[in-house]
Protein backbone atom coordinates (compact mmCIF):
# COMPACT_ATOMS: atom_id res chain seq x y z
CA UNK A 1 0.00 0.00 0.00
CA UNK A 2 1.06 3.56 -0.72
CA UNK A 3 0.30 6.03 2.05
CA UNK A 4 0.08 9.72 1.12
CA UNK A 5 -0.21 12.44 3.72
CA UNK A 6 -2.03 15.45 2.29
CA UNK A 7 -1.80 18.63 4.35
CA UNK A 8 -2.93 22.20 3.81
CA UNK A 9 -4.89 25.06 5.35
CA UNK A 10 -8.69 24.83 5.66
CA UNK A 11 -10.54 24.98 2.31
CA UNK A 12 -7.30 24.96 0.30
CA UNK A 13 -8.77 22.28 -1.97
CA UNK A 14 -7.31 19.10 -0.44
CA UNK A 15 -10.48 17.05 -0.85
CA UNK A 16 -11.17 18.41 -4.33
CA UNK A 17 -7.68 17.42 -5.49
CA UNK A 18 -7.76 14.00 -3.79
CA UNK A 19 -11.11 13.25 -5.46
CA UNK A 20 -9.68 13.94 -8.92
CA UNK A 21 -6.49 11.97 -8.34
CA UNK A 22 -8.33 9.08 -6.71
CA UNK A 23 -10.72 8.93 -9.66
CA UNK A 24 -7.75 8.45 -11.98
CA UNK A 25 -6.23 5.78 -9.75
CA UNK A 26 -9.56 3.95 -9.58
CA UNK A 27 -9.84 4.10 -13.36
CA UNK A 28 -6.41 2.47 -13.56
CA UNK A 29 -7.70 -0.40 -11.41
CA UNK A 30 -6.19 0.61 -8.05
CA UNK A 31 -8.05 0.23 -4.77
CA UNK A 32 -8.22 3.54 -2.93
CA UNK A 33 -9.18 4.49 0.64
CA UNK A 34 -9.18 7.75 2.58
CA UNK A 35 -8.79 8.89 6.17
CA UNK A 36 -9.66 12.43 7.16
CA UNK A 37 -8.26 13.96 10.35
CA UNK A 38 -10.11 17.03 11.54
CA UNK A 39 -10.89 18.94 14.72
CA UNK A 40 -14.63 19.11 15.40
CA UNK A 41 -16.55 17.85 12.43
CA UNK A 42 -15.98 16.92 8.84
CA UNK A 43 -18.15 16.10 5.86
CA UNK A 44 -15.19 14.75 3.90
CA UNK A 45 -15.44 11.02 4.80
CA UNK A 46 -19.05 10.88 3.52
CA UNK A 47 -17.99 12.83 0.46
CA UNK A 48 -15.24 10.32 -0.36
CA UNK A 49 -17.61 7.43 0.17
CA UNK A 50 -20.53 8.91 -1.77
CA UNK A 51 -18.66 10.40 -4.73
CA UNK A 52 -16.13 7.60 -5.26
CA UNK A 53 -17.63 4.66 -3.41
CA UNK A 54 -14.34 4.10 -1.58
CA UNK A 55 -13.90 3.18 2.09
CA UNK A 56 -13.38 6.34 4.12
CA UNK A 57 -13.21 7.16 7.81
CA UNK A 58 -12.78 10.33 9.81
CA UNK A 59 -11.06 11.04 13.11
CA UNK A 60 -11.86 14.11 15.21
CA UNK A 61 -9.29 15.43 17.66
CA UNK A 62 -11.98 17.30 19.61
CA UNK A 63 -10.37 18.52 22.86
CA UNK A 64 -6.91 17.17 22.02
CA UNK A 65 -4.26 19.09 20.12
CA UNK A 66 -4.98 18.21 16.47
CA UNK A 67 -1.30 17.69 15.69
CA UNK A 68 -0.78 15.32 18.58
CA UNK A 69 -4.00 13.47 17.86
CA UNK A 70 -2.98 13.04 14.23
CA UNK A 71 0.46 11.63 14.90
CA UNK A 72 -0.76 9.40 17.72
CA UNK A 73 -3.11 7.73 15.25
CA UNK A 74 -0.76 7.27 12.34
CA UNK A 75 -0.26 3.53 12.79
CA UNK A 76 -3.98 2.99 13.30
CA UNK A 77 -4.76 4.87 10.09
CA UNK A 78 -2.29 2.76 8.11
CA UNK A 79 -3.52 -0.48 9.64
CA UNK A 80 -7.08 0.45 8.74
CA UNK A 81 -6.06 1.19 5.12
CA UNK A 82 -4.32 -2.18 4.83
CA UNK A 83 -7.29 -3.98 6.37
CA UNK A 84 -9.41 -2.54 3.53
CA UNK A 85 -7.01 -3.91 0.92
CA UNK A 86 -6.15 -0.41 -0.33
CA UNK A 87 -3.36 0.06 -2.87
CA UNK A 88 -3.34 3.75 -2.09
CA UNK A 89 -4.40 5.44 1.16
CA UNK A 90 -4.95 9.20 1.21
CA UNK A 91 -4.56 10.71 4.66
CA UNK A 92 -6.10 14.18 4.60
CA UNK A 93 -5.19 16.35 7.55
CA UNK A 94 -6.90 19.56 8.57
CA UNK A 95 -6.97 21.86 11.54
CA UNK A 96 -3.26 21.55 12.17
CA UNK A 97 -1.43 24.69 13.17
CA UNK A 98 1.17 26.24 10.87
CA UNK A 99 3.75 25.81 13.60
CA UNK A 100 3.96 22.10 12.73
CA UNK A 101 3.93 19.78 9.77
CA UNK A 102 2.25 16.38 9.70
CA UNK A 103 4.88 15.06 7.33
CA UNK A 104 6.86 11.97 8.24
CA UNK A 105 10.38 11.05 7.18
CA UNK A 106 10.29 8.46 4.43
CA UNK A 107 6.57 8.75 3.72
CA UNK A 108 5.47 10.81 0.70
CA UNK A 109 4.29 14.28 1.69
CA UNK A 110 1.86 16.49 -0.23
CA UNK A 111 0.94 20.05 0.76
CA UNK A 112 -1.91 21.93 -0.91
CA UNK A 113 -1.55 25.70 -1.34
CA UNK A 114 -4.42 27.98 -2.39
CA UNK A 115 -3.51 30.60 -5.05
CA UNK A 116 -5.76 33.07 -3.23
CA UNK A 117 -3.87 32.78 0.04
CA UNK A 118 -1.70 35.77 -0.72
CA UNK A 119 1.77 36.89 -1.57
CA UNK A 120 3.32 36.02 1.78
CA UNK A 121 1.53 32.70 2.32
CA UNK A 122 4.54 30.57 1.30
CA UNK A 123 6.64 32.15 4.08
CA UNK A 124 3.80 31.98 6.59
CA UNK A 125 3.08 28.33 5.97
CA UNK A 126 6.28 27.27 7.70
CA UNK A 127 7.35 23.62 7.92
CA UNK A 128 4.11 22.29 6.39
CA UNK A 129 5.35 23.76 3.11
CA UNK A 130 9.10 23.82 3.68
CA UNK A 131 9.32 20.09 4.50
CA UNK A 132 6.98 18.66 1.88
CA UNK A 133 7.89 16.71 -1.27
CA UNK A 134 5.03 17.73 -3.55
CA UNK A 135 3.14 21.02 -3.61
CA UNK A 136 -0.28 21.21 -5.23
CA UNK A 137 -1.27 24.75 -6.18
CA UNK A 138 -5.06 25.12 -6.43
CA UNK A 139 -7.49 27.85 -7.54
CA UNK A 140 -5.15 29.16 -10.22
CA UNK A 141 -8.32 29.84 -12.24
CA UNK A 142 -9.13 32.67 -9.84
CA UNK A 143 -5.94 34.72 -10.32
CA UNK A 144 -3.93 36.06 -13.23
CA UNK A 145 -1.11 34.04 -14.75
CA UNK A 146 1.42 36.56 -13.42
CA UNK A 147 0.10 36.13 -9.88
CA UNK A 148 0.36 32.34 -10.24
CA UNK A 149 3.95 32.71 -11.33
CA UNK A 150 4.75 34.94 -8.36
CA UNK A 151 3.15 32.48 -5.90
CA UNK A 152 5.04 29.57 -7.47
CA UNK A 153 8.23 31.58 -7.09
CA UNK A 154 7.46 32.11 -3.38
CA UNK A 155 6.79 28.40 -2.95
CA UNK A 156 10.06 27.56 -4.65
CA UNK A 157 11.90 29.98 -2.35
CA UNK A 158 10.30 28.35 0.72
CA UNK A 159 11.01 24.83 -0.52
CA UNK A 160 13.39 24.54 -3.49
CA UNK A 161 13.19 20.74 -3.36
CA UNK A 162 9.44 20.28 -3.86
CA UNK A 163 7.79 19.74 -7.24
CA UNK A 164 4.88 22.10 -7.83
CA UNK A 165 1.74 20.80 -9.55
CA UNK A 166 -0.93 23.35 -10.47
CA UNK A 167 -4.28 21.56 -10.23
CA UNK A 168 -7.73 22.97 -10.82
CA UNK A 169 -9.83 21.46 -8.04
CA UNK A 170 -13.08 22.17 -9.89
CA UNK A 171 -12.21 20.73 -13.30
CA UNK A 172 -9.37 18.40 -12.35
CA UNK A 173 -6.95 19.92 -14.85
CA UNK A 174 -3.41 19.03 -13.80
CA UNK A 175 -4.47 15.91 -11.91
CA UNK A 176 -3.07 13.71 -14.68
CA UNK A 177 0.49 14.88 -14.02
CA UNK A 178 0.01 14.66 -10.27
CA UNK A 179 -1.42 11.15 -10.33
CA UNK A 180 1.42 10.12 -12.66
CA UNK A 181 3.92 11.34 -10.10
CA UNK A 182 2.07 9.65 -7.23
CA UNK A 183 2.03 6.40 -9.18
CA UNK A 184 5.87 6.47 -9.29
CA UNK A 185 6.13 6.68 -5.51
CA UNK A 186 7.36 3.63 -3.61
CA UNK A 187 5.00 1.45 -1.59
CA UNK A 188 5.52 2.51 2.02
CA UNK A 189 3.01 1.87 4.71
CA UNK A 190 4.83 1.45 8.03
CA UNK A 191 4.88 4.42 10.37
CA UNK A 192 6.28 2.88 13.53
CA UNK A 193 9.96 3.72 14.07
CA UNK A 194 9.81 6.54 11.52
CA UNK A 195 10.21 10.15 12.61
CA UNK A 196 8.22 13.32 12.14
CA UNK A 197 9.99 15.75 9.83
CA UNK A 198 9.39 18.54 12.34
CA UNK A 199 8.67 18.53 16.07
CA UNK A 200 5.23 19.30 17.44
CA UNK A 201 4.40 22.02 19.95
CA UNK A 202 4.54 21.13 23.62
CA UNK A 203 1.13 21.03 25.20
CA UNK A 204 1.51 20.12 28.79
CA UNK A 205 -0.06 22.97 30.66
CA UNK A 206 -3.20 23.52 32.69
CA UNK A 207 -5.15 24.51 29.56
CA UNK A 208 -4.36 21.09 28.08
CA UNK A 209 -6.46 19.54 30.82
CA UNK A 210 -9.50 21.72 30.23
CA UNK A 211 -8.68 24.84 32.26
CA UNK A 212 -10.59 27.89 30.93
CA UNK A 213 -9.95 30.54 33.57
CA UNK A 214 -7.46 33.31 32.79
CA UNK A 215 -4.73 34.38 35.18
CA UNK A 216 -1.23 33.39 36.21
CA UNK A 217 -2.49 31.48 39.21
CA UNK A 218 -4.32 29.01 36.97
CA UNK A 219 -1.29 28.32 34.80
CA UNK A 220 1.13 25.48 35.37
CA UNK A 221 3.40 23.25 33.34
CA UNK A 222 4.88 24.50 30.05
CA UNK A 223 4.04 28.22 30.05
CA UNK A 224 5.82 30.79 27.89
CA UNK A 225 5.25 34.52 28.38
CA UNK A 226 5.37 37.50 25.98
CA UNK A 227 8.76 39.16 26.19
CA UNK A 228 8.42 42.91 25.46
CA UNK A 229 12.21 43.29 25.33
CA UNK A 230 12.53 40.88 22.41
CA UNK A 231 13.66 42.62 19.20
CA UNK A 232 10.48 42.04 17.14
CA UNK A 233 8.04 43.08 19.80
CA UNK A 234 7.73 46.75 18.84
CA UNK A 235 8.14 48.74 15.63
CA UNK A 236 11.52 50.46 15.38
Amino acid sequence: MKALIVAGPPSAGKTAVILHVARRLLAAGDKVAAVKFDTRSSLDPELYASSLGIPAIGGLSDYLCPDHYFISNMEEALEWGKSRGADCLFIETAGLCLRCAPHIEGLPAVTVVDSLSGLHAPQKMGPMLALTDIVVLTKGDLVSQAEREVISFGIHAANPRARIHPVNGLLGTGSLGLSGELRQLPELDEAAERKLRHDMPAAICSYCTGERRIGRRYQSGNVEKLRPESPHAEPA
Binding site: S115, L119, A146, E149, P166, S175
Partner: protein, 252 residues
Protein backbone atom coordinates in the same frame (compact mmCIF):
# COMPACT_ATOMS: atom_id res chain seq x y z
CA UNK B 1 12.75 25.59 -37.67
CA UNK B 2 10.22 28.06 -36.34
CA UNK B 3 8.18 28.00 -33.16
CA UNK B 4 5.12 25.94 -33.76
CA UNK B 5 1.94 25.38 -31.76
CA UNK B 6 -0.31 22.42 -32.52
CA UNK B 7 -3.75 21.73 -31.14
CA UNK B 8 -5.25 18.30 -31.71
CA UNK B 9 -9.04 18.26 -31.42
CA UNK B 10 -10.91 16.54 -28.61
CA UNK B 11 -14.61 16.59 -27.86
CA UNK B 12 -17.23 19.31 -27.45
CA UNK B 13 -19.34 19.74 -24.34
CA UNK B 14 -21.71 16.97 -25.41
CA UNK B 15 -18.77 14.60 -25.88
CA UNK B 16 -18.94 14.57 -29.70
CA UNK B 17 -15.62 14.71 -31.56
CA UNK B 18 -14.79 18.24 -32.63
CA UNK B 19 -15.39 19.04 -36.29
CA UNK B 20 -12.00 20.71 -36.63
CA UNK B 21 -9.57 17.90 -35.89
CA UNK B 22 -6.47 20.04 -35.52
CA UNK B 23 -4.86 23.43 -35.96
CA UNK B 24 -1.21 24.41 -36.28
CA UNK B 25 0.18 27.92 -35.82
CA UNK B 26 3.67 29.08 -36.79
CA UNK B 27 5.76 31.93 -35.41
CA UNK B 28 4.20 35.30 -36.22
CA UNK B 29 0.74 33.88 -36.97
CA UNK B 30 -2.40 34.99 -35.24
CA UNK B 31 -5.73 33.22 -34.88
CA UNK B 32 -9.00 34.84 -33.87
CA UNK B 33 -11.39 32.72 -31.81
CA UNK B 34 -15.05 33.68 -32.08
CA UNK B 35 -18.37 32.23 -31.05
CA UNK B 36 -21.37 32.95 -28.83
CA UNK B 37 -21.08 33.49 -25.09
CA UNK B 38 -20.34 30.15 -23.42
CA UNK B 39 -19.22 28.49 -26.66
CA UNK B 40 -15.84 27.50 -25.22
CA UNK B 41 -13.45 30.27 -26.27
CA UNK B 42 -11.89 30.69 -22.83
CA UNK B 43 -11.69 26.93 -22.39
CA UNK B 44 -9.80 26.70 -25.71
CA UNK B 45 -7.30 29.30 -24.47
CA UNK B 46 -6.98 27.51 -21.13
CA UNK B 47 -6.10 24.29 -22.98
CA UNK B 48 -3.29 26.07 -24.82
CA UNK B 49 -2.06 27.79 -21.67
CA UNK B 50 -1.78 24.48 -19.83
CA UNK B 51 -0.47 22.58 -22.87
CA UNK B 52 -3.42 20.23 -22.35
CA UNK B 53 -2.51 16.56 -22.57
CA UNK B 54 -5.95 15.03 -22.82
CA UNK B 55 -6.42 15.91 -19.15
CA UNK B 56 -8.85 18.82 -19.53
CA UNK B 57 -12.63 18.65 -20.04
CA UNK B 58 -12.19 18.94 -23.84
CA UNK B 59 -9.61 16.15 -24.13
CA UNK B 60 -7.52 18.30 -26.52
CA UNK B 61 -3.80 17.72 -26.88
CA UNK B 62 -1.64 20.80 -27.29
CA UNK B 63 2.04 20.68 -28.15
CA UNK B 64 4.61 23.35 -28.66
CA UNK B 65 7.98 23.18 -30.41
CA UNK B 66 10.50 25.93 -29.78
CA UNK B 67 12.74 27.52 -32.40
CA UNK B 68 15.20 24.63 -32.07
CA UNK B 69 12.41 22.17 -32.83
CA UNK B 70 12.36 20.76 -29.30
CA UNK B 71 9.04 19.78 -27.73
CA UNK B 72 8.58 21.99 -24.71
CA UNK B 73 6.92 20.96 -21.46
CA UNK B 74 4.58 23.09 -19.37
CA UNK B 75 6.45 26.25 -18.44
CA UNK B 76 5.45 29.85 -17.88
CA UNK B 77 8.18 30.94 -20.28
CA UNK B 78 6.20 29.65 -23.28
CA UNK B 79 2.70 31.04 -22.94
CA UNK B 80 1.52 34.36 -21.52
CA UNK B 81 -2.21 34.79 -21.01
CA UNK B 82 -4.38 37.85 -20.72
CA UNK B 83 -7.42 36.25 -19.11
CA UNK B 84 -10.94 37.64 -18.86
CA UNK B 85 -10.38 38.69 -15.29
CA UNK B 86 -9.98 42.36 -14.57
CA UNK B 87 -8.71 42.46 -11.02
CA UNK B 88 -5.69 41.44 -9.01
CA UNK B 89 -6.02 39.39 -5.82
CA UNK B 90 -2.46 39.95 -4.68
CA UNK B 91 -1.90 42.41 -1.89
CA UNK B 92 1.06 44.37 -3.27
CA UNK B 93 1.97 47.61 -5.02
CA UNK B 94 2.66 47.79 -8.75
CA UNK B 95 6.42 47.95 -8.13
CA UNK B 96 6.55 44.91 -5.85
CA UNK B 97 4.40 42.93 -8.26
CA UNK B 98 6.56 43.86 -11.28
CA UNK B 99 9.81 43.10 -9.47
CA UNK B 100 8.52 39.78 -8.14
CA UNK B 101 7.09 38.71 -11.46
CA UNK B 102 10.34 39.56 -13.25
CA UNK B 103 12.34 37.71 -10.59
CA UNK B 104 10.03 34.69 -10.85
CA UNK B 105 10.85 34.49 -14.56
CA UNK B 106 14.58 34.90 -13.90
CA UNK B 107 14.68 38.48 -15.23
CA UNK B 108 15.73 40.64 -12.26
CA UNK B 109 16.75 44.33 -12.41
CA UNK B 110 16.01 46.70 -15.29
CA UNK B 111 13.48 49.03 -13.67
CA UNK B 112 10.53 46.86 -14.60
CA UNK B 113 8.05 48.73 -12.42
CA UNK B 114 8.44 52.13 -14.05
CA UNK B 115 8.53 50.75 -17.58
CA UNK B 116 5.50 48.56 -16.97
CA UNK B 117 3.51 51.37 -15.38
CA UNK B 118 4.48 53.74 -18.22
CA UNK B 119 3.31 51.31 -20.88
CA UNK B 120 0.12 50.56 -18.94
CA UNK B 121 -0.60 54.28 -18.74
CA UNK B 122 -0.55 54.58 -22.54
CA UNK B 123 -3.43 52.07 -22.62
CA UNK B 124 -5.76 53.42 -19.97
CA UNK B 125 -7.22 56.72 -18.89
CA UNK B 126 -6.16 57.77 -15.42
CA UNK B 127 -2.50 57.00 -14.76
CA UNK B 128 -1.10 54.63 -12.14
CA UNK B 129 2.30 54.92 -10.49
CA UNK B 130 4.71 52.23 -9.28
CA UNK B 131 3.42 52.95 -5.77
CA UNK B 132 -0.25 52.24 -6.62
CA UNK B 133 -1.69 49.26 -4.69
CA UNK B 134 -2.83 46.56 -7.13
CA UNK B 135 -6.14 46.07 -5.44
CA UNK B 136 -7.06 49.74 -5.77
CA UNK B 137 -6.61 49.83 -9.56
CA UNK B 138 -9.82 50.18 -11.58
CA UNK B 139 -10.86 47.34 -13.89
CA UNK B 140 -9.38 49.17 -16.89
CA UNK B 141 -6.16 50.08 -15.08
CA UNK B 142 -5.68 46.51 -13.84
CA UNK B 143 -6.22 45.19 -17.35
CA UNK B 144 -3.78 47.75 -18.77
CA UNK B 145 -1.18 46.66 -16.21
CA UNK B 146 -1.75 42.98 -17.06
CA UNK B 147 -1.19 43.81 -20.74
CA UNK B 148 1.97 45.81 -20.08
CA UNK B 149 3.23 43.03 -17.80
CA UNK B 150 2.71 40.42 -20.52
CA UNK B 151 4.30 42.59 -23.20
CA UNK B 152 7.40 43.57 -21.21
CA UNK B 153 7.98 41.07 -18.41
CA UNK B 154 6.50 37.78 -19.66
CA UNK B 155 7.54 38.42 -23.27
CA UNK B 156 6.55 34.82 -24.14
CA UNK B 157 6.55 33.37 -27.68
CA UNK B 158 2.85 32.44 -27.45
CA UNK B 159 0.32 35.07 -26.34
CA UNK B 160 -3.30 34.30 -25.50
CA UNK B 161 -5.72 37.21 -25.35
CA UNK B 162 -9.23 36.83 -23.92
CA UNK B 163 -11.63 39.66 -24.79
CA UNK B 164 -9.19 42.55 -24.80
CA UNK B 165 -12.04 44.82 -25.96
CA UNK B 166 -13.55 44.82 -22.47
CA UNK B 167 -12.73 47.33 -19.75
CA UNK B 168 -12.58 50.39 -21.98
CA UNK B 169 -8.90 50.33 -22.86
CA UNK B 170 -7.42 51.00 -26.31
CA UNK B 171 -7.92 47.55 -27.85
CA UNK B 172 -5.93 48.14 -31.06
CA UNK B 173 -2.93 49.48 -29.16
CA UNK B 174 -3.28 46.59 -26.67
CA UNK B 175 -3.23 43.97 -29.44
CA UNK B 176 -0.27 45.62 -31.10
CA UNK B 177 1.83 45.73 -27.89
CA UNK B 178 0.92 42.12 -27.07
CA UNK B 179 1.62 40.60 -30.48
CA UNK B 180 4.26 40.95 -33.19
CA UNK B 181 7.99 40.10 -33.06
CA UNK B 182 7.33 36.59 -34.34
CA UNK B 183 4.90 35.75 -31.55
CA UNK B 184 2.05 33.32 -32.01
CA UNK B 185 -1.17 35.05 -30.94
CA UNK B 186 -4.55 33.50 -30.19
CA UNK B 187 -7.23 36.14 -29.69
CA UNK B 188 -10.67 35.25 -28.31
CA UNK B 189 -12.99 38.12 -29.07
CA UNK B 190 -16.55 39.28 -29.79
CA UNK B 191 -15.25 42.31 -31.72
CA UNK B 192 -15.87 42.11 -35.51
CA UNK B 193 -12.82 44.22 -36.38
CA UNK B 194 -10.51 42.10 -34.23
CA UNK B 195 -12.05 38.89 -35.61
CA UNK B 196 -11.46 39.97 -39.20
CA UNK B 197 -8.00 41.38 -38.48
CA UNK B 198 -6.54 37.88 -38.07
CA UNK B 199 -5.79 35.94 -41.25
CA UNK B 200 -7.69 32.96 -39.85
CA UNK B 201 -10.61 32.64 -37.49
CA UNK B 202 -11.80 29.68 -35.50
CA UNK B 203 -15.51 29.47 -34.76
CA UNK B 204 -16.50 27.77 -31.51
CA UNK B 205 -19.91 26.27 -30.72
CA UNK B 206 -21.10 24.12 -27.80
CA UNK B 207 -17.57 23.83 -26.45
CA UNK B 208 -16.12 22.51 -29.72
CA UNK B 209 -14.06 23.85 -32.65
CA UNK B 210 -16.78 24.12 -35.29
CA UNK B 211 -15.24 25.93 -38.30
CA UNK B 212 -11.88 27.31 -39.36
CA UNK B 213 -12.07 30.14 -41.90
CA UNK B 214 -9.38 32.10 -43.72
CA UNK B 215 -10.01 35.80 -44.30
CA UNK B 216 -11.04 36.04 -47.96
CA UNK B 217 -10.86 39.06 -50.27
CA UNK B 218 -14.39 40.19 -49.50
CA UNK B 219 -13.76 39.79 -45.76
CA UNK B 220 -10.85 42.19 -46.13
CA UNK B 221 -12.87 44.80 -47.99
CA UNK B 222 -15.53 44.56 -45.28
CA UNK B 223 -12.84 44.85 -42.62
CA UNK B 224 -11.83 48.24 -44.02
CA UNK B 225 -15.41 49.51 -43.84
CA UNK B 226 -15.98 48.03 -40.35
CA UNK B 227 -12.70 49.52 -39.13
CA UNK B 228 -14.03 52.91 -40.28
CA UNK B 229 -17.21 52.48 -38.22
CA UNK B 230 -15.18 51.21 -35.31
CA UNK B 231 -12.83 54.21 -35.42
CA UNK B 232 -15.86 56.50 -35.45
CA UNK B 233 -17.31 54.76 -32.39
CA UNK B 234 -13.99 55.06 -30.56
CA UNK B 235 -13.75 58.76 -31.44
CA UNK B 236 -17.28 59.28 -30.16
CA UNK B 237 -16.38 57.42 -26.98
CA UNK B 238 -13.42 59.73 -26.40
CA UNK B 239 -15.55 62.82 -27.01
CA UNK B 240 -18.17 61.63 -24.52
CA UNK B 241 -15.58 60.53 -21.98
CA UNK B 242 -14.07 64.04 -22.05
CA UNK B 243 -17.49 65.43 -21.09
CA UNK B 244 -18.12 67.07 -24.47
CA UNK B 245 -21.33 66.95 -26.47
CA UNK B 246 -21.87 65.08 -29.70
CA UNK B 247 -22.40 67.27 -32.80
CA UNK B 248 -23.90 66.16 -36.09
CA UNK B 249 -20.84 67.48 -37.90
CA UNK B 250 -19.07 64.49 -36.39
CA UNK B 251 -20.53 62.45 -39.29
CA UNK B 252 -19.42 64.79 -42.05
Amino acid sequence: MLNRLEIAGGADRAGRPEEIRGIALKAGESLAVAGPTGSGKSEFLADIEQLAAGDTPSGRIVSYRNAKGEMAGRSPAIVATLSQRTNFIMDARVEEFAALHAASLGKPGRDWAQRTADLANTLCGEPMTPESPLQRLSGGQARALMIADIALISDAPVVLIDEVENAGIDKHLAVSVLTGHGKIAVIATHDPVLILSSPRRLIMAEGGMRRLLAAAGEDRRCLDRLAGYDAALLRARDILRRGEEMREEFFR
